[in-house]
Every structure is written in structure tokens, then in C-alpha cells.
Amino acid sequence: MTPRHRDTRATVTPAPSISVPAAWQAWALSFLSPDEKILAWVAIDLDARLRFAQELVVVTDRRLLGCALGNNASLEGEPTCREWARRDGQRLSHDDHAGVGTLELLDGNGRLHHWRYTLAQDAAVLRLVQAFGRRQEEPSPESENGAALCPVCGTPLTADDDGCPNCAADGTAPPPSTWILFRLWRFAKPYKGSLLLGFILMLTSTAAGLVAPYLIMPLTDDVLVPAEKGVPVDIGLVALYLGGLLASALLAWGLGWGKTYILALVSERIGADLRTASFEHLMHLSLEYFGGKRTGDLMARISSETDRICLFLSLHLLDFATDVLMITMTAAVLFWINPWLALVTLLPLPFIAWMIHQVRDRLRTGFEKIGRAWSEVTNVLADTIPGIRVVKAFAQEGRETKRFQEANRHNLVANDRVNRLWSLFSPTVSLLTEIGLLVVWMFGIWQVSQSNISTGMLLSALAYIGRFYTRLDSMSRIVSVTQKAAAGAKRIFDILDHVSNVPEPVQPVPLPTVRGQIEMRNVVFRYGNRTVLRGVDLAVAPGEMIGLVGHSGSGKSTLVNLICRFYDAAEGAVLLDGIDIRTLAISDYRRHIGLVLQEPFLFFGTIAENIAYGRPGATREEIVAAARAAHAHEFILRLPHGYDSLVGERGQGLSGGERQRISIARALLIDPKILILDEATSSVDTETEKEIQKALDNLVRGRTTIAIAHRLSTLRKADRLVVMDRGQIVEEGTHDVLIARRGAYFRLYEAQARQVDTEFALAEPWGNTISTTDRSPK
């Protein structure tokens, strides 16, 4: 982010000159007159033929300049500039389509020039357009309400933000590698004590396991070899050595048991913490995140990836640590017995290390692919099972099975690829260790023949070496599971590292009492590259009821989503009682909002629990009162289990209207200051609508209400109607005023009245006068 430099030459004027990007500074000095003030600039990144290029468009107090560089890659060479002196009647307009914006300079007669840019420059372009439109004497928007604006994108910054939430840095994460597993330490930390104990147990049990081969040496040299030579066997000595063998085995067993138990316990807890942490983080991510991710993928990540990591921690990491310990200790003992023998033993080690290095990255990417393939399998499940009614209705079971098969086949292919690599790896390690053993035998026999070492020494060393190689073998196997866990950890940390697009302010402004005044200031919003709201200005007084109407797709639900702060506006701001909602703690803010959606969602649980969802502490009396007010009480009582009936998935089926009334009761119970009804009464028959309407009338009283409805009759209680069309507010006023104006609302009303007439004529009402689909994001 480039800080906005003040031009030191400029005296205190209302509109200070701002400096252009460093690369253009020299040009600006030479090209502009000394007292010319730069009001705004934007680095346009496309040329007229839509090729990537560099062009600087500058608005100064006297002209508009567009300077293109011949060479697009570097900022070298003389720029070629075009300029337009500022005149009355000129205006800049901007628009975008499919990720590309167009900036046009127009006057009364036509288009003077146009520029194209990618949406990355959109905020800068907006500032340019505003600067161009503003009369020079007006102050710059440095602080609209005392808050500073981000110099890059114009988002208002709160005092405690050390960066702009809108243009936070991207693409700077460290590359994924096995090291990502060390990030799991954050989850292991709370179990430091148990981990240390487990480690000590591991150390001692490993050491105990090493006693046995050592006893082979005296057993051979002091007992076996003399016995062969006819010396009578010393029973006491044999008992001592054999007793030692038994004791060490028992000790190793006991310690090994303790270690395995403790560490398995800890790793299971780490895995559980990891799962909870990812879920908790997921819950706080914005709707945009969920809109972009597939349900199955998220489910796979949180369930199976955490499981893999847990398995890795509990089994493989433990084995690995034991192996490493064993190998170092064995190597130490070997060196102590005979350094030369030890050196020969270590011979295959460099080869194995080299092999591990070779396969490691390929294994991990392979496992990452498997993870994704697995997600795809879950995706098909998460897609098909909730949609099973449609599948069956169109008799597409076979096609879905094929889709599943295909996803499964992908999974198979991904696995095969890893297995091909891996199946070669393990036997190769075994082969190397066998060869190593062979070399040690040869070297050992030669040494014995030279009488450099005793037979006992060789046998004992061979016993150690046997263990050493077995451990090496099993240790090399960990490469695979480690990479598997690393791939899993990467996919988990993908979630954990994702910063919500609706960030929680660092120092939230306290919100003691809410009057319920809502204001939207020049709000622009887009889903991806589709601009859905184009500069919406709306003020709602406390306690006022606004009816929001407009064609399907005009952006009504989107506007409401912004008020609920499910998304943040790309430009502009939403204010509650004059406070930018981005500076309020999210849960604090949402507590004051009651939301009733067209497709109310009921969670698995009883009706009472569902009504009390927003206020789990509510008493039974309160729940019943809310249900009564929502006109849900009676139908609930008709259910065999009353308020204790199970609803939601697999529970008691409820009709659309019944579910809606439960969700109204839910909104009523939290007693919100702001109420948002997004087509709360579509999809029900007229009779039920009347019931719901009565329920809503209870709900609306004394609250700031924004109601969206297609049936205009639903909004007869509204104080003011707001008509939206293609992302803009086109009309505002009461029903009578709007009808008198004969504009957009009038046409909507007419169309509906006609339809009602034909409905009566056909005597076959379709339920909905205008059929709608709610496109609110999932």
C-alpha cells in the first residue's frame, strides 16, 4: 500500500495535490506546470485493444491527461500524452462488464475518449471520476466523517486498522512444505507436560530395548566360545545374562506401554482441537467464502484431513521418533563397539537420504491431489443427497451414479500415481539395507580373521545392525505418511489462514443502545466481477417501515445482505445510527437484526429449540409468547409432540408456511431493533399469508423494518416504498405518490393488477402472482 504523500509545495488549500506513482514522478515534474495540482490519478492497465499496457490517467485542476508508455513491461521511454482541457459539460463515466471496466470521457456531443482497465483498478477509477466531477473548491474526501480513507481503494479506515481491510496483501504465504507440520505446534502447546512425559518414557523404553543385543557380546565371548572349547558352563553367569535379557524386555514393555498410551491420548486431543478450531474459524468466515467453496470440499477437509493428521500424530510420528532415537542410540553403541564396523554399517544411509529427498515432494503433491480428488467424491455426495428429490423427479439416478463413479475414478487414479512411486520406494530401501548387511558380514569376517575383533563382538554388532536396518526401513516408510499429513495440514491451514472478508474490527466501537437508523451511502457491491449494486443511497429513520420492491434480480436481497453485513460493500458504507457497521463488533451488531427469509432454515432439534435459536436462554413462557405472536402456536399444538416435536433433517416435516412462521417467531424472540423480511410471505396460500401477515404486523411494530415483497399488497403498511431496478434505487415514496408518478412502480403495480385479474378469470390461482426464485447466496 502506498501512503498518500502530501505535496509539500502546496500551501493549505482545500484540495491538496497528490503525488503520482514513483515511476511517473520525473515525468510529472517535467510535464505539469509548477502550480498545477494533481487531484487524482489511476494507472490504467489495458490499452484500447485490450492488451496489457501501462497508461497513467491524471486529473489536475485544469485538465485531464492520459499518458501511455510505448513499452508495456517497463516504465522506460518517453510517454505519449493526450490532454483535454476541462470544460463545462464534460463528464467521466465508468462501467464494467466481465472483469473489464471502461472509463469514458463524454461531453454533450459524444465520446471524446475511452480507456479500458481490469477491475483491480476500479477503486482508483472511482476516485478519479469523483475528483473529476467535484468542483475544485470543494474539499477532497480525505475525511468524510472524520475517518481516513484508504489511499489505495478509498475504503474508510478505522483508527485502529493498521491496514486497509479491502486491499490486504495477498500471495505472500510461505511455500507449503513438510515444515507446515510444525505449525501444528500451536495445537500441541497446551499438552506440553504430557508430551514431555511421553518423550521421557520413549527415551527410557528405547534405551531398555538396547540392553538385550549388548548382552550377546559377553554371552558369546564368556559363555558360548569357552563352552565350545570344552570349558564347563558357568551356570551363575548364564542366569545373570539371561535374567538381564528378561528384565530389559519387561522394562521395555512397561515403559513402551506408558509411552504409547500417553502419546495416543495427547494426539487424539490435538486432533480434536484442530477439528474444533477449523470449524470455529469456518463459522466466522463470510458468506462469500461459503459461496465460493463447495460444501463437500469443506466437509472433507474438516473431517478426513484432521483425521489423517491425528493418525499421523498418534501412530506414525511416535514410531518415527522412536526410530530416530533407536537409530542414534544404536549408532552410538556401534561406534563404541567398533568404529570401523559402524562406518561400514552407515554406508547405505546416504543413498536412502537421497531417495527420500527425491520422492518427498512428489509424494506430497500426490497426496494433495488425492485430497482434492477425495473432496470431489464428497462434493458429489453433498450435492446429490440434499437434491435427491430433483434427482428422482427427473429419473437421473443413473447419471448421478456415473458422476460419483467418475469422481471415484479420479480418486483411484490419484492414488495409483502415488502408489506407483511408493511401491518402488520401500523395497528399494529394503534392498539397500540387505546389501548393507552383506557388506558388514564381509567386513566383519575379514576383521575376525585378522583377529581385530572377537566373534562375540561381531555377533553383537550384527544384532544391533539388524535392528538399525529394520528401524531405517520403517523410518523411511514415514516419508509417505508425513507427506500425507503435510498435505492434510496444508488443506486445513488453508481454512485456518483465510481471513474473513467481513473482518472483525480490532477495536470495535461499543454499541450500547440502538435507535435503528440505517443509512447506506453510495454503496457499490459486486459478486465476483458482476456489479450488482451501483451506488445505492438510502436512509431509513428509526421505526420506519420500508417496502423494497423491484424486478427479480434487481438486487433487493443483496442490499439486505449488506445491511446484515453478510458481505461488505466494495465501495461506500452502511451506517447504523451514524456509525459505520464495519467498526462494530459483528455479533454485537447482528444481535439487533431479526431476519426472516423466504426459505427459512430449521436446524435439527425441537421446535422450541429452533424458536429460541437466537436466544438460547429464553424461558418456555417467552417461547410460547413468541410463537403466539407469530401465529404459530396453534399449529404447533396440533403436532403430537407440540413444542418438543423434532424438526429439521429427518425430523417432522413442516410445510413452507409453517416453517416461515417458526422463523418469524425466532426473529420475534430476539426482540431486534431492525427487522428484515426477505419475501417472508411468498410460497404460501392467501389464507396462510393473512395469518403470517398478522404475525408480521406484530413483529413490525416499533422496529425499523425493511420488507421485500413481490406481492405489492403485502406492503400496504409500509411508510415508504423503495423501487429498485438493476442495482439502483429508481423511485422512493408512498404508494399513492408513486402511482401518481406513473413510473417504474406504477408499471409493476399495473402488471400485477392485470395478473390478478387473469387469475380470477382463470379461476386457477398459481399461489404466486409473480413467480420468483430467491437467489440469495447459499
Binding site: L50, F52, G99, E104, G292
Partner: protein, 158 residues
Amino acid sequence: MKPFQLSRNAFGRLVLTADDGRIYENIVPARAFPISAPEAGLALIDEEGHERAWIDSLATLETALGSEIRTLIETVLAEREFVPAILRLRHVSTFATPSTWQVNTDRGETSFVLKGEEDIRLLSASSLLITDRDGVQYRIPDIAALDKHSRRLLDRFL
């Protein structure tokens, strides 16, 4: 196809004159299947978003109404459509997302931020559509045609 006339006004916008003599300003052409069949169906949409003319294909348009009108529509489409084809991946900042990609495209060199793996959409077994953080789309028409370095980088995200 009903005959119509198309021209460009001083503001650079298309103006459509229908065969009944009605005039619509600010017309935009829109492909019905921009990805799967770009040449197949085209609609001329007015300011309000209503369809004012349907063109089965540019070829039939040319035989019916002449090549001038086809050229005009193609020019306007070319001005609207921006889906650079990636020819080479020079560098990716990280294999985790978000990741900054430096690429060569048929429209010059650039870099963009890939927000997540799910922004890579598989169009067919060998072609991809990638959407960057700002909603700009890039396509890879044929993965096999990329050089080895690019393929290796790309493979990490698939």
C-alpha cells in the same frame, strides 16, 4: 431472422433499428454460450436487459444481412470480451492460495492473484478457465500445449 439495422453513435454505442422502424439505443451483443459454443447464438440486448434481436450464428447473419453488420458486431464483441489466454506461467509465488501468478498471455505479460483452487474451472479435460481475485478471467485453451515448466506449476493446483 428478421432484418434489422445496426450502427454506432457518437458515444460509441450500438443503435439498433428493428424492421418495424423502432430504434433502440445502447444495444449490447451477448453470446449465449460464450464457452461451449461462442459462434452459435447471439442476442442483441437493450439497456433494460430485453432481447431485441436473436442471431442464430454470425455466419447466417452475414448471408442474411451482409458482412458489414457482422464486422460491427464482431468489433463490439472484441471490445467487450476480455479472456486472455495464458501461454506461459512464468512464476507462481506459492503453491498454497492465495497465490500470485506471473504469466504471459496472448495480450501481453501480467500478474494476478488466484484466491483459491476452486477458482480454477475445468472446462474440459484439457482446457481451463481461471478467475482471479478481481474477477478477470483467464483461459488455458490446451494444457498440453503449454511448456513443461508451466505445466509443472499448473499441475500443483489441479
